[in-house]
Symmetry: D2
Subunit: 339 residues, 4 copies
C-alpha cells in the first residue's frame, strides 16, 4: 500500500503512521514530495484492510498496490484452471462449453423435452432451477428437492452433467448430492455464509457476479470459496445494473478479458439474464465467445409462452439450434472449439 | 397491466393474448390506436409477473399499472406503521430515533465505552455487529454468539434496546433470542431464505437496501417479511452503487420521501455506510432528518483508529455529541423530536 | 400514451384530463379497472412530452406507447440506411468498416506513419482529432485547423476518407470543408446547438453516445440531426459510465442489437474509449463485430508511449494488424466482410 | 504520482520509466517492495496526465496523489469564495440563497406572475430559460433573445438579479449582456468551448454537474472557467444518472460536503431537476440546506399544468411559500440565514 499524508500533516502524525505500519509487521518507506509525503508499506498487504491506516490522524488516503485476492489470481496460479465434468464437458482450458436448460424445473415433461433439444445440439451440461430466488414473494419459488431429483434423472438419461442453484448454506449438502456443479446466483454473490458452505464441498461452483458488484468483488467472492478449500470455481458475468433500461441488465463485455487477465478461473457468460430478451441472446452470446469466454449459460424452454419464469428470455428450440450453429462458427474464428 | 402489441400484430395474435388474459382470471379491454393496439388487463395484477404476457407472440411490452407489493404499501395500510422497542424507543410515528454503536463488537471494554457515550447522548438503541459480512475472506468476521451476549449485557446495563445483524436463516432464532431488532444487511437484501426466516419470528426487522437494488425491490423484499407474518419491518437507505468514487456509496436522498409516500413502514438512514468517511457523516445525517427519515443508524467507536472494521467512517465520542446536537435542531426545524 | 389516474382520483379530475387530451388534438379512451382508471391517448404521441399530462391533478403517471423518435426509427425506414464514403468505404448495408488512426493529430510524421499502417491493413477511413475535448484545461487541446489540413493531405495521399471531431457549432462549416464524416463526441451528444448545425450540412455524421445517456436519448440526438435535414447519421457505442472502475467505461454490448432493432442507422463500436486499455481493445472489438456492429473506430499510434493523448488505449502497428486479422475471421463467421 | 510497475518488470523497463519521469521535469524516487516496485514522481503533477506514464512498457498503473485541479481547490484558496450579485443576493459566505422562477420563459404574464410570487417569498434572483436544451427536437426550444429581454425587464421591475442558461459559445456575449449569472447546464458541463467562452466574460457562472460526471470532473470543468480568467464560479449538484428509476435523477447529497471540502466555490442544489416531481422538491431542498449548500435553484410556475416544460417538477406558489418557510427553519437550525 501507499499511504498519502494530508498537505499539512505534522511530523508527529507521520511518526504515528510509521509506528502503526511497523506494529502490523510491515516496513515503511517515506518519500517527501513537494506537496505531500507518501509512505510505502512494504510486505504482503493482501490480508490488511486499507482502513486500518485511513483512520490514523493525518492520513489523506491509502492506495492498494496489490489486488485484494491471492488464490484466485493469475499471479498465484499462472495456468488456466480447468474444471472437468462428468459426461465429458469441461470449463476452462480452451474449449467453449455451453450449459443450457430451462430457468426453472417445472415438470418431467418440460425438462425431458428441453434436455432432448439441448443434448441434440451438442450440449453436455443441463441447467435448471429447483430453488428459485424471486424478487416477488408471490412468484413461483421452484420445486425444491423434487426438482433436483428430476434434474438428476433426466440428465442421467441423456448422459449429461447437472448445474443447479443453491440459495442457502444448509441446502449445500443436499444440492451437492444431486448436482455436478453448484450455481451461486447474483443475489447471493455476497452471501458469505453460502460461499463458505460452498467452499466446504467437493463439487465445482459457478459463481455469478452480483448485479451491483465490481469485478474485484466478484473475484474476492471466488476467493472465499477457494480459501475454504474448494479449488473448482468458475466465474460468471451475467449483466450489471446501470442506468440503461432498454435491457434488463447491461452485460459488461469488458469484464471477460479483464477477468481472464486477473484470474486463472474459467469465465462464463449468461446472455439470457444479461439481456432479458430472447431476440438479444444470440448476438450477445456470440459477443461473449468472441471476447474470450470459456462458456455460455443459456435458458431454453420447449414452449417459452408457458414458462413459469423467465419466459421472455428463453430460447425456443429452433432459436437455440440457430444460436449453437453460430456459436460454433465464432468459436472457430477465435481458434476454439465448442466442447 | 397494459399490454402493448407490436406494430403489425395479427388479429390471431391479439386473440391469443386476450385468451391468455382470461385464462389467468382477468378481464381484457382492447383499445385500438393509430399505430398500436393496447390491451388493458382488469383485475389484481400484483401476483402476476408481466413476463407471462411479454412472452406471447405479437406482444411488444407490458406495463405494470399497480406496484408489485401490497402489504407494504401505503394504499393497503394508510397510517404510518410504528415499531415500539424496549427501553422506550420507537421507529415511525413522528419521532427521529437514533441507533448507534460500533460497527463490530470487539470486546466488552470497547462496547461498554461506546454504550456509555451514546446513552449519554440520549440514544436508546445500541447497534453492534457480531456476525460480520466482509468482502474479503481475510478480514475480521465478528465474535459470533459471544458478541451477542456482550451486546445484550451491555445494553441491559444501560437500559437500551439492541439491534444486530443476522446473515443466515439458521441463525435467525439465535440472534432473535438476544436482539430487539434484527438487521438484514445490504448484501442480504435479496437473500430470500433469510427474509422468509425473518418473517417467521416476532422481532422487528430493519431491512437495508441492496447496493444495486431499486426502491421497488427494497419494498418487495420488505413484502417477503410481511407476507411471512412479521408486520414489524423498517427500511433503511444506506447508499447505492453509482459511478461516483469520491465516496464509498451514494446516499439516495430522494428515496426518503419516495419511500414515505409509497409505504407506511418506518424509514431509517445510514450516513456511515453511505459515505464511508467520518467527516461526511454529520451533514448527511442532517440531510436525512431534513428529508423526513424516522431514524438514523450511526457508527461510533471510542477509538476509531483502533477499530477492527469501519474505522474511517466511525464517529469519535465528541463528533457524535456534536452530530446529536445538530440532529436535534434540524429535527425540531421540521417539527419532530429526537425520541 | 396511457395515462394512469391515482387510486382515488375524482370524476372531475378524470374529466379535466380527458379535456386536456382532446385540447391537444387526441382522442381519449377510458378503461376503468378494479383499482385504477386508465386513459388511452389515441393519435401520434411522438411530438408530445408526457409531462403535459403528468402535471394535471389526479394523474399518477403517464406511459409512452411509441418511442419518442420517428425519422431514426426502423418503423419509419425499414431498410438499413447506408452511408457511402469517398475511397470506397461504406457504413451500413452488411459490411464491417474499420475507421482507424491516432487519437489526436500531432504532426505530419505521426499521421503519415499511422495512415501507412492502417491503410496497409485495409482501412479506408482515417480518424484523427484536430479539436480535442479534454477533461483538464491543462491537457493538449489539439492542432485546430492545422490538424485538419494534415488529415486531408495525408488521407488524400492514401486515397482514404477522413473522419474528425467537431466540438462547436461555429466550426461545423470549417470541419465539413476538410472531413468526409463529422464526428460528434460523447461529451457533446446532448449539445443541441451542435446537433442542429451538423444537421444543416451535407456531410455524414458519426454521433457518439453520451457516457450518461440512454439508448433512447442517443437515438433522439440522432433525430435532431435527421430532422434538420441531414439523413446521413451513424450511431456509435463507446462505453457508458457505470460503477465498475476496472475499465475506463463499460461497453454496452447489448446496445448493438437493440440499436439495430430500433433504428435503421449504421452502428459503430469504439473499443478504444470503451476500455481505455490497449490489451482489451481486440477482444472487445471482436465482441462488437460478433454482436452485429457495422463498424469499428479504433485508435492506433506508431509509438503510443510518445502519444500526446490516449496513449494507453492506442494499438501499436503490430497489435492493429493482429486485431484486423481476427476481425476479418469473426466478420466472416457471422456472414459479413470487412469492407 | 506513484507509478506501480508490473510484477516482473525488467530493470530496463524501470530505467525507461525513470528516464521518462526526468524528461518531464520531475524527480523520481524508487521503492522496491516484496512484489512490486513503485516509483514516486516528485513535483507538481497537476498538468500531467497519468497516461503519459501508463503507456510506458512495464508499468501496471499510475496513481494520482494530487487532485487534477488547482485554482478551484481549497488548498489554493482556503477561504470561501463569495459571489456578490446585484439586488443584494450573494452566493457563498454563509448565507443560503434561493434562485427561483419558471423552467422556461413563456410570456411576460407568466414571468411577471412568477416573479411576484418568488419576490414576495424573499427571493432576490430570478431564474428562467430563454435557450432551452431539450432531449427531443420536437419540444419547445425557448423564446431566445425575446426571453432574455423579458427576464431583464421583469427582474428589474422587482429589483432582482437574473440567472439564465447559455448553450453555445457564440451566445455568451449576448446572454451576458442581459443576465447577472450565466448558467451552464448539465448537458453542457463538458462542452469545453462553452466553458472557455464563459471564462472570458466578467459575469459569474453557475455550472451544473453533468448527469454522468464525477465530482472531480465537475471541479475540473469549473477549473476551465477559472483558468480562462473568470474567478466567479459556483457549482451545482442537480442529480446524477443511476439505476434508480423512481425519480428522474438521483441527487448526490454526499457531493455537497465533499465539494465544500475540496473547493472554496459556492455550492448550489437543484431539487427540481434532481427529483422531477413537485412533491419531492421540498424534502430534498431541505436536505440540501441541512447538508451545507450555499443555495437552492428551484422551479416555480404560476400554473404548472399549463407549463411548456418541466411542469411536473414546478412548484405552485403555495408550495413554494411552504418550502421557503421550512428552508428558513432548517437554515437557522444549521446556523445560517436565507439571504
Amino acid at each position: 500500500m501507499v499511504i498519502v499524508m494530508r498537505a499539512h500533516a505534522t511530523p508527529e502524525e507521520l511518526e504515528a503512521v510509521k509506528r502503526r505500519v511497523e506494529e502490523l509487521g510491515f516496513r515503511s518507506h517515506i518519500s517527501t514530495g513537494s506537496e505531500r509525503t507518501i509512505i510505502g508499506v512494504i510486505g504482503d498487504e493482501r490480508p490488511v484492510d486499507p482502513e486500518v491506516f485511513e483512520v490514523v490522524p493525518g492520513v489523506e488516503r491509502v492506495v492498494r498496490i496489490l489486488k485484494p485476492f491471492r488464490l484466485a489470481s493469475r499471479e498465484f496460479h499462472p495456468d488456466d484452471r480447468v474444471i472437468e465434468l462428468p459426461g465429458g464437458a469441461r470449463l476452462g482450458g480452451g474449449a467453449v462449453t455451453v450449459l443450457a436448460g430451462p430457468c426453472a424445473v417445472e415438470s418431467r415433461e418440460q425438462l425431458e423435452a428441453t434436455a432432448e433439444v439441448v443434448s441434440a445440439a451438442g450440449v453436455k451440461v443441463l441447467r435448471g432451477g429447483a430453488f428459485k430466488p424471486r424478487t416477488s414473494p408471490y412468484s413461483f419459488q421452484g420445486l425444491g428437492e423434487k426438482g433436483l431429483i428430476l434434474l438428476r434423472e433426466v440428465a442421467d438419461h441423456h448422459g449429461m452433467a447437472v448445474i443447479t442453484e443453491v440459495v442457502t448454506p444448509e441446502d449445500v449438502p443436499l444440492v451437492a448430492s444431486y448436482a455436478d456443479i453448484l450455481q451461486i446466483g447474483a443475489r447471493n454473490m455476497a452471501n458469505y455464509s453460502l460461499l463458505q458452505a460452498a467452499g466446504a464441498v467437493s463439487k465445482p461452483v459457478l459463481l455469478k457476479r452480483g448485479l451491483g458488484s465490481t469485478i474485484d468483488e466478484l473475484i474476492q467472492a471466488g476467493e472465499y470459496i477457494l480459501s475454504n478449500g474448494n479449488d473448482q470455481v468458475a466465474l460468471c458475468e451475467r449483466g450489471i445494473r446501470t442506468f440503461e433500461t432498454a435491457t434488463r441488465f447491461t452485460l459488461d463485455i469488458n469484464a471477460i478479458p479483464v477477468l481472464k487477465g486477473l484470474t486463472s478461473l474459467p469465465v462464463v457468460v449468461d446472455p439470457s439474464h444479461a439481456t432479458g430478451q430472447a431476440t438479444l441472446v444470440k448476438p450477445v452470446a456470440l459477443a461473449g465467445v468472441a471476447a474470450g469466454a470459456d462458456g455460455l449459460i443459456v435458458e431454453v424452454h420447449p414452449n417459452p409462452a408457458a414458462a413459469l419464469s423467465d419466459g421472455p428470455q428463453s430460447l425456443t428450440p429452433p432459436q437455440f439450434f440457430d444460436m449453437m450453429r453460430d456459436v460454433r462458427k465464432v468459436a472457430e474464428a477465435v481458434g476454439r472449439q465448442v466442447g
